[in-house]
């Protein structure tokens, strides 16, 4: 590992009204990587980000952002960071270009310098020519892209994105992913939170799975899949599937999970199970390699988090 970590967090804790929302979180970003924080709703991802930015004081732990201790010198640290928040908070009173201009001033940038950057930023956001368009008429995807462009106004070393593609259609998500990859190609470091496993698998070099305020697994997507879970998954559907799972599945699968009328069988070798299932035409099957979502569900459980 070369260079200083753009963000390192050690033993971070944070409580609200006696409830520990972040309960001892440690991780360190490597320069130029994309690091993902995954977790169900309420896992403590957003609170962790807020602590890292110095927007709320931690109960305990050490944070260094862009080489500066946080929260003591959070304001200085944020000079080198770009943030894409979970909910769009573009300025509705302004056009696209004005949003970038006004935001650049919060960094103390000179008007002429910001003006010079606006065309390339709008171009990057696929919003070229929309300088004077009001925010109110932009689609959700356009707003996200403009928020990403806004986060780049200070040419940051580190980008922090909180659920950057939540609520977007597939076209808009793919465009965001493509842009984030381009930024990684330029050597920027990215920290993102998400609960989309395909997003994490596609973008992240390394990720940490959080639940109930703790990191419960950490590694590259490949390492996590190889280390945490059986390599093959056979999904079995049908009215009889739960009954079948109770009586027979254990003979063929190392591990089974039942969710409604679907049974997820985790196996090292799927052949015997598939041969058995061919004798049961009333059960439909889907055989696939294990993915990050399987790891996530294994580690965080299937019950709803509201």
């Amino acid at each position: 590992m070369e260079g200083l970590s753009p963000l390192s967090v050690d033993g971070l804790r944070k409580s609200y009204a006696g409830r520990e929302v972040v309960a001892g979180v440690s991780f360190a970003l490597r320069p130029g990587e994309c690091f993902g924080l995954l977790g169900p709703n309420g896992a403590g991802k957003t609170t962790t980000l807020r602590c890292c930015l110095g927007l709320t004081p931690p109960g305990a732990g050490d944070i260094r952002l862009a080489g500066e201790p946080v929260p003591q010198r959070a304001r200085e640290a944020r000079e080198r960071v770009g943030v894409v928040p979970q909910f769009d908070n573009l300025d509705p009173d302004f056009s696209c270009a004005e949003n970038l201009m006004v935001y650049g001033r919060y960094f103390g940038l000179a008007t002429a310098d910001i003006r010079a950057r606006i065309p390339q930023l709008l171009d990057f956001a696929s919003l070229a020519g929309k300088d004077d368009t009001s925010i109110r008429v932009l689609s959700g995807g356009m707003k996200r892209r403009l928020t990403l462009a806004r986060a780049l106004i200070n040419d940051p070393d580190l980008l922090m994105l909180d659920e950057p593609t939540t609520g977007l259609d597939p076209q808009a998500r793919h465009l965001i992913w493509e842009r984030l990859k381009r930024l990684l190609g330029q050597g920027k470091t990215i920290l993102l939170t998400t609960h989309f496993m395909d997003e994490a698998e596609r973008l992240c070099n390394r990720l940490a799975i959080m639940d109930e305020g703790r990191i419960i697994a950490q590694g590259s997507p490949r390492e996590l899949i190889a280390g945490q879970i059986e390599p093959q998954v056979v999904e079995v559907y049908g009215e009889d599937a739960p009954g079948w799972a109770r009586s027979e599945a254990a003979r063929f699968a190392q591990r089974c999970e039942v969710s409604g009328e679907t049974v997820f069988c985790y196996v090292t070798d799927a052949a015997p199970l598939l041969a058995h299932l061919e004798q049961r035409p009333q059960l439909r099957t889907l055989h696939r390699p294990a993915n990050l979502e399987d790891v996530f569900l294994k580690l965080t459980g299937r019950e709803l988090r509201d």
């Binding site: 304001r75 000079e79 908070n89 919060y106 103390g108």
Partner: protein
Amino acid sequence: MNHFSPPQLSRRALAVWQRNFLVWKKLAIPSVLGNLADPMIYLFGLGYGLGGLLPAVGGVPYIVFLAAGTVCSSTMNAASFEALYSGFSRMHVQKTWEAIMNAPVSLDDVVAGEWLWAAAKATLSGAAILIVIALLGFVNSPLALWALPAIFLTGLCFAAMGLIITALAPSYDFFMYYFTLLITPMMLLSGVFFPIEQLPVGVQWAAKVLPLSHSVQLIRPLLSGAVPAAAALHILVLAGIAAAAFVVAVTLTRRRLLS
């Protein structure tokens, strides 16, 4: 958790001020006219309608007396509306403050920028009325120019008080209490419409601690060409309330947004 400590301010507060100014600039003329209409209707309605029934008040025709009071009450209203409704929109509804705080701008700077902006907008409001009543001949001394800093000070005072309420407000409805319980009684008790001496003695004492009454006692003499009596006291009271209310507003806003 203790959120009290002296506000730490930097020049980035001016970027927040500038943001609000840019928005205002887009709608400057309707905004100024809108701010003028309401006080002018009262001024002419009461000034001529009621004033016709009255002898001179404080040695001047009633409409001249009322005009000076209107400058003060309009400044108070403009500062309060900006700090309450517009401030709350930016803080709570649009999440503009959150966006700003992701940049290297502290919450203290955001609150300071809002404070200075609300005071500046109130000054525009007060100054617009000052210009109109000067054109109508109700002002006849260059001393009236000294009213401008006094108007700004009045704006700072009421903007800071308004930001306290904004920091506490769960929704827009909350502001109704502030206007009904504080702003409206203050307007009636501070010598805007009639001299404080008309009130029962006990109430007169209460009226003397209200910030608007200090503003009125400072600005009314200036518009009629006299140096205000005890000017230093009035300035100190307004500045003291402004500073103290700002510190309280910063503390409460930190508690609300940074916990």
